[in-house]
Amino acid sequence: MIRQFGPSEAVFIIAAVRWTLLLSAIAFIGGGIAGLGVALARTAPPAWLRRAAAGYIQLFQGTPLLMQLFLVFFGSTMLGTGIDPLVAAAIALTLNAAAFLGEIWRGCIQAIPTGQWEAATALGLRHLPRMRYVVLPQAGKIAIAPTVGFLVLLVKSTSLASIIGFVELTRAGQIINNVTFRPFLVFGLVAVVYFVLCWPLSRLSQMLERRFGTVRR
């Protein structure tokens, strides 16, 4: 029995955006905290710490996010207790975001001119205070634009959670498409909702880049 695509179907799809937003928020906050750790490790004095962070980044940037999702999802089953697709997706996206944000922020940290580092060292600051009071405040400013840009990527990435069965925007679209058989309408609507989320962020990122894009020497 084919259902008509009516207002209630449209509302079902649009309402599912809250799960997309929730997942994005969890991954962004978790990934942000872990990513800061990765970026700091990537620029830390001990070579082994830098290598470990580089390995982490290579591992997560060199493999598909879908595989990372599968590994967390099926791996938890292996540990005995299966987990909720939301938890699995949140874990995988957090680990993934940490690698990407870590690499972005490493670039921002290294973009700070050597003079600033040397001046801080000359003032007697050790590595951590130097980071905290001299480098990070300046790096933070140039990090804003690419971070917002990454947020767009993250929101789009949450669509992959639909593949392990988490009902967010894309999965809601699939469910409605399976009963109404109106793919253009359904996935068109889904695409429009993503666009409404992502486009303002993209524009914001471009605007911020024009404003804060360059390091003042």
């Binding site: 598909p64 879908l66 666009f195 992502c198």
Partner: protein
């Protein structure tokens, strides 16, 4: 944790996985070549074309870059047949990948084109070249050389995101893994191995892009 790893089923399917990897390489490489073609044409349209063309290219780029790849695949695979265009899942996958990477690569190539000095273009025009000749002989090669690192990392992201086309049952590495998983239920072992294969593939592509760069852009006498 009382789980015993059993890689026997994965080892038994090694030729299937190898074949799946080859399909992924083929699919990705085709999408890269066609995507670059789309990108060069769109970047040409965006930098030198008349206003309506520029506007159309802008719409294409914004639409693709602000929606997920997965939704684009569904629109192409489920949507186009309703419009009377029928494709196999692999053709739909290739089309989706080309459309997707074309938009990202257009912005990269455009940045390269805009980095070419005005004087170079004027010199070409002063030599009596037509605008398209200037584009072909003066602008394109150095522009691609400048943005080559950005382009190659975009292409590696494309290769990794190609695992998503398994959702429309296109045949490639992830689909092979999914079939194997459905037959043996050794999901964790299979996905660990396949993740490893993807890591090797991304290193392989990185190496290949380096070799291409040295062969095309960095050889002595290259116009750059």
């Amino acid at each position: 944790m009382n789980y015993v790893f059993q890689f026997g089923d994965v080892w038994a399917a090694r030729w299937d996985l190898l074949w799946g990897s080859w399909l992924t390489i083929q699919l990705s490489a085709s999408a890269m070549v066609l995507g670059l073609l789309v990108a060069v044409l769109c970047a040409l349209g965006k930098t030198m074309g008349p206003k309506p063309v520029r506007w159309a290219v802008d719409c294409y780029i914004e639409a693709i870059r602000n929606t997920p790849f997965l939704v684009q695949i569904f629109l192409i695979f489920f949507g186009l047949p309703r419009a009377g265009i029928y494709m196999s899942s692999n053709q739909a996958a290739l089309l989706a990948m080309v459309v997707n990477v074309g938009a990202y690569a257009t912005e990269i190539v455009r940045a390269g084109i805009e980095s070419i000095g005005r004087g170079q273009i004027e010199a070409g025009l002063a030599l009596g070249m037509r605008p398209l000749q200037v584009f072909r002989y003066v602008v394109l090669f150095p522009a691609l050389s400048t943005v080559y690192p950005a382009l190659s990392s975009q292409f590696i992201l494309l290769m990794l995101s190609s695992s998503v086309v398994s959702t429309i049952s296109a045949q490639e590495l992830t689909a092979t893994a999914n079939d194997l998983q459905a037959r043996t239920f050794r999901s964790f072992e299979i996905y660990i191995v396949v993740t490893g294969i993807y890591l090797v593939l991304s290193l392989l592509f990185t190496g290949a892009f380096g070799a291409i760069y040295r062969g095309v852009f960095a050889r002595p006498g290259a116009r750059a």
